[in-house]
């Protein structure tokens, strides 16, 4: 048999303009998933150091973190990531139950829009008093 040309096994991300909604949903869900898992481990680690000794350490650590603007901004990012993962997750649950398969692409766009709306609406609360 003659040689074959191996064009690689993973979808070429250079062709992202050709991606459809279902593919974007899969990519975003994976990305937000990794971020949330990373956060979970980090969160427990931070709380571990904060609860190591006396209560004042806990309060001071948290206040210290919350005073940093970058932490506040990251929290808004965390909210966006979590909200998208939840909303798209609900969409996936619907698909798994076989409901609304005809509008699965519309429901993806809806989750993006609602995520954006909730994130923007929460910014005042999150950045208050920094």
């Amino acid at each position: 048999m003659s040689e074959t040309y191996d064009r690689g096994s993973v979808e070429d991300f250079g062709r992202w303009r050709e991606f459809r909604s279902g593919m974007w949903a899969w990519i975003f869900h994976k990305f937000t998933g990794w971020v949330l898992v990373g956060y979970l481990f980090t969160h427990i680690a931070v709380l571990s150091t904060a609860t190591a000794s006396d209560p004042a350490v806990y309060t001071d650590t948290l206040h210290g973190l919350e005073n940093l603007l970058v932490v506040r901004v990251l929290e808004v990012g965390l909210l966006a990531v979590a909200v998208f993962h939840i909303l798209n997750g609900v969409r996936l649950l619907m698909v798994d139950l076989g409901l609304g398969l005809d509008s699965q692409d519309k429901s993806f766009y809806a989750s993006l829009v609602v995520t954006a709306a909730i994130t923007v609406a929460s910014v005042p609360t999150f950045l208050a008093g920094v």
Partner: protein, 121 residues
């Protein structure tokens, strides 16, 4: 592909648990966010407040379940993402072992932290 697997290795259990934990997490994560960013502002949290909340058994139990389900959902998600990417053989078993250990460690440490936040210990 059509190797015969034992009847105990059906992939359906983890798939189902991923969905079940997902449903639980939707509620609990939203609740957690709401409580700690909207009802109480994160910047105003004190140890006293945390201790008061965590000392209520119902709340403590919910938070502990939150820890366990989130760990399973997240780590199982990571494992599946890697299997989809095509890891196989030794690498797969190694990753599986590491992820299992990491989950156990996370739950153990999380439990210790949770207990340290109460006045029960």
């Amino acid at each position: 592909m059509a190797e015969y697997y034992s009847s105990f290795e059906r992939g359906g259990v983890r798939w189902l648990l991923q969905r079940v934990t997902a449903v639980f997490l939707i509620g609990v994560l939203a609740f957690h966010f709401f409580l700690l960013h909207f009802v109480n502002h994160a910047a105003d949290i004190t140890f006293a407040g945390t201790q008061a909340r965590m000392s209520q058994v119902g709340y403590f139990a919910t938070m502990w379940l939150f820890l366990v389900t989130a760990t399973f959902h997240g780590v199982n998600g990571v494992y599946n993402a890697l299997v989809n990417q095509g890891i196989d053989g030794t690498a797969k078993r190694a990753v599986g072992a590491v992820l299992t250990l990491a989950s156990i460690a996370l739950i153990a440490q999380g439990t210790r932290v949770a207990l340290a936040m109460t006045d029960l210990l």
